[in-house]
Amino acid sequence: MKNLDSVFVAYMIGWGIFFLFSLSVAKRAAGLKAELARLQERLQDSARQGK
């Protein structure tokens, strides 16, 4: 079982990078979604006030 640690570390780091990247995209998307909802609400408010 020589070098099992190297194989294990390589897979952990590789999968970790994919996971972190996916997480960072999901986090950025959630932030944008919240911002979008806030702005849409503001847009609707200003449209109502305009009427």
């Binding site: 994919f18 999901a26 998307a29 944008l32 702005l39």
Partner: protein
Amino acid sequence: MAKTGVYTFLVCALMCGAAYAAFFRAPDEATMHLVQRIFYLHAPSGMTSLAAFLVSFIGSVTYILTRKPKWDWLAVSAAEVGLAFCTVVLITGPIWAKPAWGVWWAWDARLTSTLVLWMLYVAFLILRTMIEDSDRRALVSAFFGVFAFLDVPLVYGSIWWWRMQHPQPVVFTSTGLDPTMRKVFNLSWLSLTCLMALLIRQRYELESSREELRTIEQELEAN
């Protein structure tokens, strides 16, 4: 949304299957033994990163020709995903090289050109943060994306053109791999290609939401 969830689940299942096959189904390699199993993550990640950079190149060229923002979104999404895969290649390579070659790194043509490729796409992403105007940013980064892609054929061809430290190709040759090793390799490659498609799609949707946000901001300013 449910469709994306099913696809994400399938990609995770494929990746787990590929890892299981790499650890428990692939035969032991005669000279390197256990450490050779890094190959099933390292080589498919490298090939997938080149595929992502090709998608980015297509996005850049099409943006230059059509000036439609969706191609710029594709270019940046694929570049970011390709960079993630290229990072995996540059980290798993030295972890494999140390027990196999006795050194972490060698200034071999394949290794050096891959490092240059990684730096070029990091520069591509940094460049995008430095330009405010979205049309100008898209055009400048599209030209830079075309330039960065010039290194991809060099990375691919380096092991065919120069015989140095990195092993000769085994994937696109008829005799290079044991049939079971080839099956495991193909499964790993498939799983990472599906992951690449999923990540590019997620990243593309992010760019699309950004555009929606800009449109609403402009509408609010106009009001």
